[in-house]
Amino acid sequence: MTPRGQGLRTISFGGIVPAKPPMIELSLYANAFARTPAQIIVTEWRDLAADIGQLLELRAAEKTALPALAPHALRDGATRSLAGVDRVTALMIDVDTVPGNDLGALLDRILPPAIVYASPSDAPERRRVRVLAPLRRPVSPMVSAHLRCAYAESLGLAPGCGVEGALDCAHLFFVGALDGTPAREWWVVD
């Protein structure tokens, strides 16, 4: 059996990179069950960092009730699904197992700009973080999974760290804290 993705040789047809970085566009969903975004966040990078800080202050009794970010823009009238995603505006990976539980080392490996925030289930004994890095230009959802894997590898991550659990570009990333847990940490790599 050949593992999926191994030996993938995809030919890129190239593209035009705009001289000015575009605005960051993220979809904010009310909770895990929302099919359409409650808000489309279109902002510059430095403003997004402040927005993330505010979102992390939100709390809920269960993770599924927390708001969730998705670095994608849906097609007109589409609901959240892989087929409904029109473009991916940023790379976001889910690191459920930080190598050696050494978050500092991971942060050192991240090239700016990026935002790292603790997931709702983050705990000192097992750090769980999300890494959000803007793309120079939106990309097709078709290459999103490959990009996330490649980005994870650039951070020294390997399969088993949780990244492969959220390769689907329609995947949600919860943001906020559960009731009774400490405030979530976040870092801006800039």
Binding site: R4, G5, L8, T10, G14, L135, S140, L147, Y151
Partner: protein, 485 residues
């Protein structure tokens, strides 16, 4: 900011996706008791007394016991061990290890194929039982991806593009791929549904990419627009063969690739190359097994299939039965498009005709591929019904033969010649000997026009030119009638 384009080109160091877990116990370490007991009761293989057959039976029967116990990947080696440890010592003389390995491998392949068939039959029966047709409901509409060419997804069916090597299957496939990806009408006349296209290239993707770029420019679009819409994958047939039995329906990586890229149209270039590593006879029903799996993907699967060399008739449309392999492959075709050269001396001209369609077959049309600095464009040369085109072909052949008959008889200095002598000097387009029927039709048509006279001689009939016979260059034919142009 991350440069997504650069990152997209970065090869991955790890296999990120999950593997299907193989069935656990009793892989190859020890031979299960049940197999040992079975082999002990089977007749030994004795030289000169049907030894080969006995070994074949032992391997086959052992596979039925071992098959459910080990994974498919491990079955061959487990069988080999069982035969070596529990059967070969009783054989006279014992078989060499290579022979045992070969028989084990074959028996494992047979068992795997049979198990697949059993699974499919079970699923089909369950589906049939569960989904009884409700005749009172309105007929669901066909989900056309290109209605003009009859392309639509269907359960367990595929779309075949068949033709001789060099007939123009590749250009058509590249053109269709670009049209689906960009939502542009195929050949400028058949609207398509815009969707993501996966192109599995088993014959080298570099040239295909170049051709698709040319097609895209020929369509007046920038190849960069294909990004994320047309995913061209250079695929090794060995990779395909290795994954044929992975996962519930096989081809696990292909399913994941399709899902990842939201592919709705899959083009396989070519089916013959894709099956190169499967070690199956193209004329056996097993040759269609891979096509069946492509059909089960639930998307539009377009397979480029070579016409059977011996069956393909020069200058005539390949029929569905001419498509390579057994009729099993043809039977899987929901839509079958023939691509062939109507004229040998026009290599860029391809005729597209419909061999099978889910609905009304499309009218045949001729296409000329034109390469220019702007890209690969096309020109529809003619269009008509299949019968019209067949008739046009016949007229063309008769005119071609008549010109040669006139030339031959003119060179005979008024000496009448027999039909067989005329046939010997008439060549079909491309230099091949003329078909008997064509020469006969041409001579009869010339007689009707009064261009030939006929004399009955003791050895048969001979034909000579009359005073009304025109110059060969002036001859034309329409609806079987010769005219002077």
């Amino acid at each position: 900011m991350i440069d997504g384009d650069a990152l997209a080109r970065a090869p991955l160091q790890h296999a990120w996706q999950t593997r299907a877990e193989p069935r656990a116990p009793a892989e190859t370490g020890t031979v299960p008791d049940a197999v040992t007991r079975l082999l002990a009761h089977l007749p030994p293989s004795v030289s000169g007394a049907g030894g080969d057959v006995a070994l074949l039976r032992a391997a086959t029967e052992a596979a039925t016991v071992l098959g459910p116990l080990v994974s498919r990947e491990a079955l061959a080696s487990a069988l080999e061990r069982a035969l070596t440890d529990s059967y070969n010592p009783r054989c006279a003389p014992p078989w060499p290890p290579a022979k045992l390995a070969r028989e084990a491998s074959r028996a494992a392949a047979r068992w795997s194929a049979e198990e697949t068939t059993r699974g499919v039959l079970t699923r089909v029966q369950a589906t049939a039982a569960d989904r009884e047709t409700d005749w009172t409901r309105p007929e669901p509409p066909v989900e056309w991806y290109c209605e003009g060419l009859g392309i639509a997804p269907s359960s367990r069916k595929v779309t075949l593009i068949g033709g001789d090597p060099g007939a123009g299957k590749g250009p058509l496939a590249g053109h269709l791929a670009a049209c689906f990806a960009l939502g542009l009408p195929a050949l400028g006349r058949f609207p398509v549904r815009r969707c993501n296209v996966g192109y599995l290239d088993f014959e080298g993707a570099i040239l295909s990419a170049r051709r698709i770029r040319a097609h895209t420019r020929g369509l007046g679009r920038d190849p960069a627009e294909l990004t994320g819409r047309l995913i061209l994958r250079d695929t090794d047939p060995d990779e395909l063969a290795g994954s044929l039995h992975s996962g519930p329906g096989g081809l696990e990586w292909l399913r994941a690739w399709i899902e990842t890229h939201s592919i709705e149209v899959l083009i396989v270039d070519s089916y013959m190359s894709a099956t190169a590593s499967l070690d199956v006879d193209p004329n056996s029903p097993a040759f269609a097994e891979l096509a069946r799996r492509f059909g089960a993907l639930g998307i539009v699967a377009i397979l480029l299939a070579h016409a059977r060399k011996l069956g393909a008739r020069r200058g005539e449309a390949p029929m569905l039965g001419d498509v390579a392999g057994s009729f099993a492959l043809a039977g899987l075709a929901q839509t079958a498009i023939a691509v062939w050269r109507p004229e040998e001396d026009e290599p860029l001209r391809a005729r597209l005709s419909c061999m099978r369609a889910p609905d009304e077959p499309f009218a045949a049309l001729d296409v000329e591929w034109i390469r220019s600095p702007d890209g690969l464009t096309w020109r529809a040369v003619s269009a008509g019904t299949r019968r019209d085109n067949a008739s046009a072909d016949r007229d063309s052949r008769i005119a071609f033969a008549a010109k040669q008959v006139l030339g031959f008889l003119a060179a005979c200095d008024g000496i009448p010649r027999s039909l067989s002598a005329i046939r010997a000097h008439v060549r079909a387009p491309g230099g091949n000997p003329g078909a008997k029927d064509t020469v006969r039709d041409a001579v009869l048509a010339m007689r009707e026009c009064g261009w030939l006279y006929m004399q009955a001689q003791t050895r048969g009939e001979v034909f000579g030119l009359t005073a009304q016979s025109p110059a060969p260059a002036d001859v034309a034919c329409s609806a079987g009638k010769l005219t002077v142009a």
